[in-house]
């Protein structure tokens, strides 16, 4: 109904849901680390890029799909943990702005390492391209990947909610996100909590890499860079201080970007980034704590 109202077809709507789901996963990955470390990871997209290169590596050698996916998860998780050890840990006492600049540097570093290693032409990772075939649901043709992406994103989010709500380590992570120092005083182990947040965010990045290569099989050094910028804007848009609002923000910007990109004619959709970022700036001005933040939440932290 919404789709016919806006003059778009079901495929566009399904694509928008799929992209929204992928962005929501990235938003959770960024939001989890932000929750415990107060660090915005600009280099998150480069984790996705590394995973995509792993998939391309496996595809080039003709390895089975599951080995490729396994390799992708291994590479991303190792890189994610290494990033925590080498960069986040020494920077833990710095201000958020310094850490943002530092992860900006790491992002560029990883991107240019990929450029050195694999060249600028890009590699193909098409082992899951069968998912681009359409699926007929209720008389409407929709590409499989849109539904798969939505489904996987929903599944991951449910698993994460259970993990955070029902397990010990989830409880610790929520406590740490609320007030790290008090949580430590009450016996929460800092390194374990941070380690698990980094690990989960790495697993999510690998999932995103698998889903993204289906739609964009050409893996270049700036793979997922634009998406990370949009997701970061979405996360701030939704509100960084709560995981739920960050996730909603990520989904919202992914959905808007996918829907408008598909529904608008080219001469208008080329200005899409401008409209999205103008919307983000507007929201930041009107509600600095975020669109989905709790009422009365303080944007400025007081000592």
């Amino acid at each position: 109904m919404i789709a016919t109202f806006l003059g778009a077809d079901w495929q566009t709507l399904a694509d928008a849901f799929g992209l929204g789901g992928i962005y929501a996963l990235m938003a959770v990955g960024i939001g989890l680390v932000f929750g415990v470390l107060r660090l915005v990871n600009f280099a998150y997209g480069q984790l996705v890029m590394a995973g995509a290169y792993a998939l391309a590596f496996a595809y080039e050698r003709g390895w089975p799909v599951w080995i490729g996916i396994l390799l992708c998860f291994a590479v991303v998780v190792v890189l994610s943990v290494a990033m925590d050890w080498l960069v986040f840990r020494p920077l833990r006492t710095q201000t958020p702005a310094v850490m943002l600049v530092a992860t900006f540097a790491v992002a560029f570093l990883l991107q240019s390492i990929a450029l050195l290693w694999f060249g600028s032409l890009g590699k193909i990772a098409a082992s899951l391209s069968a998912l681009n075939q359409p699926w007929t649901v209720g008389g409407v043709d929709v590409r499989k990947i849109s539904l798969v992406a939505t489904g996987v994103a929903a599944g991951c989010l449910v698993a994460l909610v259970l993990l955070l709500g029902r397990t010990n380590v989830g409880l610790h992570m929520r406590a740490a996100a609320l007030d790290f120092r008090t949580a430590r005083l009450l016996g929460v182990r800092a390194h374990r909590v941070i380690g698990s947040a980094v690990l989960i965010s790495g697993l999510l990045a690998a999932t995103v890499a698998v889903l993204m290569t289906v739609q964009t099989p050409l893996v270049t050094p700036d793979f997922a860079l634009r998406d990370t910028i949009l997701v970061l804007a979405g996360v701030v848009l939704g509100g960084m201080n709560r995981l739920v609002s960050a996730t909603l923000g990520g989904f919202a910007i992914g959905f808007a970007s996918g829907f408008l990109g598909g529904a608008l004619p080219t001469d208008q959709s080329q200005y899409l980034p401008s409209f999205l970022f103008a919307a983000v700036i507007l929201v930041l001005l009107i509600r600095p704590a975020g669109l989905f933040a709790r009422r009365g939440a303080q944007a400025v932290e007081r000592v």
């Binding site: 915005v40 960069v87 020494p90 920077l91 710095q94 958020p96 702005a97 310094v98 943002l100 600049v101 530092a102 900006f104 540097a105 790491v106 560029f108 570093l109 991107q111 240019s112 390492i113 450029l115 050195l116 910028i229 970061l232 804007a233 701030v236 960084m240 080329q270 200005y271 980034p273 401008s274 970022f277 103008a278 983000v280 700036i281 930041l284 001005l285 600095p288 944007a299 400025v300 007081r302």
Partner: protein, 343 residues
């Protein structure tokens, strides 16, 4: 005595820039281009320093002021006969106006200044992460619009046929102007008030300093200097929308951070040092002779090295090479001045 310290604070960056320019006068013309680029980088980094250094707020958006400066100077100083070929759908007023070198630079600075003021009016209410993301948004929007709107510029085309007037002298004068502006600003009461808000926003407010107004003043001043840098840039190299995007943002921020965010000396040292490393590596990517052996690096090494340097400096020495302090007056010199004053 304080005035003496102040003079030294200005003299350090000025002498360094003049030395770099003199060095540039002695080398071959291909190397000279690197030196000129380094001096233009000094202007951009000083512009960044005026806002980021004094306010403590990160801005990813200053390269958009460089971009509008470059657009202004490039369009207005291109010979009228060349314009239709590169910019077929340019607005009438821009098509019919052609100005000389110096007016185009002044207009670039003015447009950068006005644009920064317009952007800053709403944005300077934000701080911390929100400010970082919002200024990033400004960069994205500016890049997006300049890239596709062909009424106001070349769109996807490159600014060719702009007179290449940014030689060693012009770049050096530009860098000195930027340093003078930054120095005057940081010694004025506005600069002091802004640094007070950087150290403790609540305390500064309590003594009647408006955080918003002071940040806006610095943002506008730095926008003007960034616009000037854009003008210098477009008169030096054929630029397009991609020249003023993420790569330039990254490299200039890296220069500021590596040099030391909180001092003018740090900004200039960082710009010169990183430019030197960067140009050496750029040469090495084409193959260069070092101590009798040919060094041939794969392309892309530059950003890896600069990125690694930046990460290392942030981790090991977060306040930068200069420690974020102005050039200290050497003790011996201080002592001799003191004795002269007391005598």
């Amino acid at each position: 005595m304080r005035r003496f310290g102040a003079g030294f604070e200005l003299a350090g960056p000025v002498v360094l820039v003049v030395l770099v320019a003199l060095f540039g006068a002695t080398v071959s013309s291909s190397t000279q281009t690197y030196v000129i680029t380094a001096l233009v980088n000094v202007v951009i980094v000083v512009a960044l320093y005026i806002f980021i250094g004094n306010s403590g707020v990160v801005s990813f958006g200053h390269v958009s002021f460089v971009a509008v400066g470059a657009w202004t100077a490039g369009i207005l100083s291109m010979p009228a006969g060349e314009k239709p070929a590169i910019m077929p759908s340019l607005a009438g007023f821009l098509r019919d106006t052609t100005v000389g070198n110096v007016p185009s630079l002044a207009l670039a600075a003015a447009v950068g200044c006005v644009y920064a003021l317009i952007v800053g009016l709403p944005l300077m209410r934000l701080s911390g992460l929100a400010a970082g993301i919002a200024t990033f948004g400004v960069l994205e929007i500016t890049h997006n619009v300049l890239r596709y709107w062909e009424r106001i510029g070349p769109g996807l085309n490159t600014f060719s046929a702009v007179p290449e007037t940014t030689g060693l002298l012009q770049a050096c004068v530009g860098a000195l102007v930027a340093i003078a502006v930054a120095f005057l600003y940081q010694w004025s009461r506005y600069g002091r008030m802004l640094r007070a808000t950087r150290e403790d926003a609540a305390a500064a407010r309590a003594v009647g300093v408006s955080v918003y107004v002071q940040r806006l003043v610095a943002f506008t001043v730095s926008g003007a200097v960034a616009g000037l840098a854009g003008g210098l840039y477009v008169h030096l190299l054929p630029a397009n929308a991609e020249s003023f995007y993420l790569d330039l943002t990254f490299i200039t921020l890296a220069m500021l951070v590596i040099g030391g965010v909180t001092s003018l000396w740090g900004a200039v040292v960082g710009a010169v040092a990183v430019s030197a490393v960067d140009s050496f590596l750029a040469e090495a990517e084409n193959g260069v002779n070092v101590l009798g052996r040919t060094l041939d690096l794969p392309s892309g090494t530059r950003i890896v090295v600069v990125g690694a340097l930046m990460a290392l400096v942030l981790i090991l020495r977060p306040s930068g090479l200069t420690g974020g302090r102005e050039l200290p007056v050497p003790r011996a010199l201080m002592r001799s001045v003191l004795t002269k004053f007391s005598a």
